[in-house]
C-alpha cells in the first residue's frame, strides 16, 4: 500500500513540519524542526508529472506524446500544479 506523506495538520489545517529523521541503517535519530519541501504538498501523481516534465527537458509536446494526451491537457495539468505551488494570497 502506498502511503502519502501528510503535509496538512488533520486537526487545525496548518502546514506540517518534520520533527524527527531516522537513519535506515543505524537507526540514529535527528530531531529538530525542518520545513517540508514545497513539492511535498503535491499528490504522488502530480510529483510524477513534475519528474516526467524535467526528464523531457520541459517540453510539453514530448510530455503529451509520452502520456498520450493532447497538448492543452498537459499544459492544463502543469498550470494547475503551478497554481497549487503559488502562495495562497496569489491564487
Amino acid at each position: 500500500m502506498q502511503r502519502n506523506l501528510p503535509h496538512i495538520c488533520p486537526s487545525c489545517g496548518s502546514g506540517l513540519q518534520v520533527k524527527t529523521l531516522v537513519c535506515d541503517e543505524c537507526h540514529t535519530e535527528v530531531t529538530g524542526v525542518f520545513d517540508l519541501p514545497l513539492l511535498a504538498s503535491l499528490t504522488a501523481r502530480e510529483q510524477d508529472f513534475i519528474i516526467e516534465f524535467v526528464k523531457s527537458s520541459g517540453s510539453l509536446k514530448i510530455m503529451a506524446q509520452q502520456l498520450g494526451l493532447s497538448y492543452p491537457t498537459v499544459r492544463n495539468l502543469l498550470d494547475d500544479i503551478i497554481l497549487k505551488l503559488q502562495p495562497t494570497s496569489k491564487k
Binding site: 498520450g68 494526451l69 493532447s70 497538448y71 492543452p72 491537457t73 499544459r75 492544463n76 498550470d79 497554481l83
Partner: protein, 192 residues
C-alpha cells in the same frame, strides 16, 4: 468510451484536430447539399426546399465555426491564466461539430414539399407526421451533443472550469448564434 464521446479533446487538439475538423466541415457541407439541411446558426439546423450552390453550405459551416471559435478564443485570452493557442481553440471547436454530420444525414429522412415557405400554419400542422417528430428530436439530440462537445473543447483549450467557464460559454454561444444567423441570412439574401 464516455470520454471519447463527450471529451475527446483530452487526446486530440492542435493541428491534428484542425485537420480532422476541416474534414468534418467538408463532409457535413457535402451531405447537407444533398439532404438540403442548412446550419443557419452556430446551433441551428433547418431543412429547406430552396436550391443553393454547394459553396453556400460550406460557407454556412465555416461562418458557424469561425464565429464561436473567435469569441471563445478572445474570451480565453481575457479570462484564462494559461497561454492558450489559437490552433487548439479552432481545431477542437471544428471537431466538436461532428454530430452535425449525423444531423445532416438525418435530413434525408425529413420530407419537405415544394413551396413550404408559402404555406399557411394550419396546412403545415397537417403535414407533421410521427416520423418527422422523431427525426426532429434526433436532430435536437445531435445539437445538444455538439454543444456538450463544444463546451468541453472550450474548457480544455482555454483551461477554464466551473461557473466561470459555463457563464462565458453560454454568453459566447448566444452572441455567436446571433452574429452567425445575421451573417448567413445576409449572404443568403444576397445570393438568392
Amino acid at each position: 468510451m464516455k470520454k471519447w464521446l463527450f471529451n475527446p479533446f483530452q487526446y486530440i487538439a492542435g493541428a491534428k484536430s484542425l485537420l480532422i475538423g476541416f474534414i468534418i466541415l467538408a463532409a457535413s457541407a457535402s451531405i447537407c447539399y444533398f439532404s438540403k439541411i442548412h446550419f443557419n446558426g452556430v446551433v441551428g439546423s433547418q431543412k429547406s426546399d430552396t436550391i443553393a450552390p454547394f459553396y453556400f453550405y460550406f460557407l454556412e459551416g465555416l461562418i458557424d465555426w469561425a464565429c464561436i471559435s473567435l469569441l471563445l478564443y478572445f474570451s480565453g485570452l481575457i479570462f484564462s491564466r494559461s497561454s492558450i493557442r489559437l490552433v487548439d481553440v479552432f481545431g477542437t471547436q471544428a471537431v466538436a461539430r461532428w454530430p452535425m454530420v449525423i444531423a445532416a444525414i438525418i435530413g434525408f429522412g425529413i420530407a419537405v414539399p415544394p413551396g413550404i415557405n408559402n404555406m399557411l400554419p394550419k396546412d403545415l400542422v397537417n403535414m407533421i407526421t410521427p416520423s418527422m417528430i422523431a427525426l426532429t428530436l434526433l436532430t435536437l439530440v445531435c445539437i445538444i451533443w455538439m454543444v456538450a462537445l463544444m463546451y468541453h473543447a472550450f474548457t480544455v483549450s482555454c483551461n477554464l472550469k466551473g461557473g466561470k467557464a459555463t457563464g462565458i460559454f453560454i454568453a459566447a454561444i448566444v452572441i455567436a448564434q446571433i452574429v452567425s444567423s445575421i451573417l448567413i441570412h445576409s449572404i443568403y439574401n444576397h445570393l438568392i
